[in-house]
Symmetry: C2
Subunit: 491 residues, 2 copies
């Protein structure tokens, strides 16, 4: 690392871009809007996948894989869905290239035009429900509890790494049920799975809520969501879970025979989280020195940096350090010994802080003499000394404390930025200032919601699940309101 990151206070967007690039998380590709997820960034994503996949399986779901391509006509089958997803997408029109007649390279072979264009999936409801029609005959075939890990493409004119990319990685759950109640319970259950993961593994506090009709997934009757608040006061939707009713069953004619031998349409849910979560991680826990990764997700939890002046010292420290790494491994902690002789300790300190390793141990001759290590925690940037013999027992406790503390810090900030606002001028001023979750009364109409969005760029992030009945007056129109909803500008 050669120089400091741009400071958040100076240019938050630039800080984000620099951090993503310099911490080796991701970079832009020559294909507009597509990103390369670099090994360090991908290792964090693998952690997200591993934790979520275990939770999906623990709640009875299985994985499968459906095609990348969707026939164009499928998108039109669900009326709302097509409006939401058919617009900005990658369209495959040909299946062959040929050498250019003038020898200038390869060109599209006009003979190889597809009879029907294929869309690179922006989401997979249509292709999956096409297959469910064959899979579902009677109540015995239900529920289907299925998930897929996949890449999807939604064309994006203003890409930002992790936050808005044309291609992104995600998981999409698609379940089929005999009753509306069961489907609704599934949608709520998966929201809770997401909330539990994001809060307890990613250390990001979320508001659980439901979207207004304006903000619903195209084709859903109800969209549940978890909303996180970034440091700059903007919201980030961290996951959604949709109750789709019978819309896709009707569009793809998926019926089942009940126990009473009656034909009924099947009920559906879908739910997903994506590589956007990486953006939430960075903007919740990052600081001017770089990333800070919660221990439960960190590819490396502890880095050991040696300090020495000569080969003898180096060799002594090396022996102690490798022994320590082994002991930590046995205690379930992933530790790395950074023995690179081409870099100075100060450079390494900055580099590992940039990469967000939760704990750093420093070992110098004096530490060895006193049988201790210097322990630095990334979250609070505090140092202490711990005896070498106690480290294997102390580090897991320390990592647990870092995990809790990171959540607490994020939660306190989120709570501080969550305010009840009853005055529209103040509402606007706050949005232009420190932002945050603004709890305000709303008259319940789409028109008002739309006008507020146009005037302030704030949207209703959700109606919280713990909505409190509280008579009031709409912040824009003054009309009666039953309670407060959550407004914010959002990523």
């Amino acid at each position: 690392m050669s120089e400091k990151l741009t400071r958040r206070a100076d240019n938050y967007a630039e800080w984000y871009n620099e951090l993503v690039k310099r911490a080796d998380l991701a970079e832009h590709s020559p294909v507009r809007g597509c990103m390369v997820i670099k090994p360090y960034g991908f290792a964090i994503w693998e952690g997200i996948q591993r934790e979520l996949d275990a939770r999906f399986k623990a709640t009875g779901h299985v994985n499968a894989y459906f095609p990348l391509f969707i026939p164009k006509s499928f998108l039109s089958k669900e009326a709302e869905h097509v409006d939401g997803f058919a617009k900005e997408c990658a369209v495959v029109t040909h299946h062959r290239l040929m050498n250019a007649p003038d020898g200038s390279g390869v060109v599209v072979d006009p003979e190889a035009k597809l009879a029907e264009e294929l869309i690179v999936r922006p989401t997979s409801e249509t292709i999956i429900w096409h297959h469910y029609k064959d899979w579902i005959r009677s109540y015995r075939d239900l529920p289907i509890l299925l998930n897929q890990w996949a890449n999807v493409v939604r064309w994006e004119m203003r890409p930002r790494l992790f936050l808005r990319t044309a291609e992104f990685l995600w998981q999409e759950g698609h379940t089929a049920h005999a009753t509306a109640e069961e489907a609704l319970a599934e949608a709520k259950q998966m929201l809770e799975v997401y909330a539990d993961f994001v809060e307890n593994v990613m250390a990001i506090p979320v508001v659980r809520g439901v979207k207004t009709p304006n903000e619903r997934f195209a084709g859903a009757l109800e969209t549940f969501c978890i909303e996180a608040l970034m440091q700059d006061g903007k919201a980030l939707q961290a996951g959604t879970s949709h109750f789709l009713g019978q819309n896709f069953a009707k569009a793809f004619d998926v019926k089942y025979l009940t126990k009473e031998n009656k034909e009924e349409y099947v009920w559906a849910t879908s739910w997903g989280v994506s590589t956007r979560l990486m953006g939430a991680l960075i903007m919740t826990h990052g600081d001017d020195d770089g990333l800070c990764i919660p221990p439960k997700l960190a590819p490396v939890s502890v880095v050991v940096v040696p300090i020495y002046k000569n080969d003898d010292e180096r060799e002594n420290i090396r022996r102690v350090a490798l022994n320590l790494v082994e002991k930590l491994k046995n205690a379930g902690v992933t530790a790395k010994f950074d023995d690179d002789d081409s870099k100075r300790p100060g450079w390494k300190f900055a580099e590992w802080e940039l990469k967000g390793v939760p704990v750093r141990l420093t070992l110098g001759p004096k530490d060895l003499a006193e049988n201790r290590a210097e322990v630095f925690r990334r979250d609070l940037k505090t140092k202490s000394f711990v005896g070498l013999d106690a480290l294997a027992a102390e580090i897991p406790k320390l990592l647990n404390d870092v995990q809790q503390t990171m959540f607490q810090i994020a939660k306190e900030r989120r709570d501080r930025l969550t305010v009840e606002i009853d005055d529209y001028a103040e509402f606007q001023a706050r949005l232009d200032g420190e932002g945050g979750f603004l709890l305000a009364h709303w008259d319940g109409t789409s028109e008002t919601e739309e006008r507020i969005k146009q005037e302030t760029k704030a949207t209703i992030r959700c109606i919280p699940l713990d909505f409190v009945e509280e008579p009031g007056r709409c912040i824009l129109t003054g009309r009666p309101s039953r309670g407060r909803v959550v407004f914010a500008r959002a990523y």
Copy 2:
């Protein structure tokens, strides 16, 4: 399961298709050549991924993710590569749909034509080496040992589930090295990783070898491969590892500064296995009753089927069975209790044999009275009785024996079908008969190889790594040969 599978002896191709469908492994999608991998099939693929990923990481590799799309011009940069891969591929030409002016649905928006067409990756050398140019400056940046799990698309006019599909899942390793020796050693190491996995986890014996120039990967200097032999005497290439020399480094101008401060082009490898391995699994271990999955890969290793006449019996057996499943779980064995009351035991037996669960335990009232279970092993179709108290200790040993036996059976068949042939008429007759690996002399020319291919549909699968120097005469031309190579018809 309603009826028996087509017998292999009657129609091998039909047997394969029926097994894939009825064992719930995969099915065709409405998108030509694309498949749906169903949950049971995907669980096997997850096992393949898990085992391989651990081996990649143990050999120092990390995962990353590169874009799905490749600019058309990239394919042209490596001269041989473009001939191999630019032909049958999915071409994205537009990025938007719009409502048809006549209200008939959605159509491609002619305004949204891309300046340069994008190719859905058929393999990722080009896009990855484009990025390596930025990642590599000096010898300190080498080696790069990287892998990606991804979907790729190669247009396919005659698709067969798992064996030949337009979209398939795979992993592709892409490494960059300072020297030719190191790159070559990497390519060989990864071949050995594949061979070890395929033999010891999938229980499929393979021949390790090197491809002739005709059969090399487009852009490689050397392609190493593992070749398996299916029951019907046809070969299946189970994995390849390529030494790419400096071809891609030159095409994408990737140089590094040596310790001596000289600029050199970087050396490369790439290596991959795909969902084709599922086809190899089926055609190595399947029989007329269905699939047989090696225990190390089986999503469920043991199924417990109860036999009862009334509710009392059912309840007693249930208690014993659940206790048994728990004990097996503690012994590291995934067991499933099939308590479905809507199906008869005979139906369940056939169903679990179709799905290839390695071991079945049957529990009836008489077994309970005698404190035992009937143990059926899928590979040999033999039954025995084991005391209930001994099961938790015996089952892991039995599964280990099944694993070894499956490999031995496959190896004996492969060895029986591997024959030295010196007469061209016999060569042809064998190919039209039981097939197999035909070890024959070859004069070393591409012309002869090509003529044999045209006349017999057999290709040189590989020159074995344990090639034996043995002077002889080419089976076609009679010209001198230094030793035997492996011929076969192949999937």
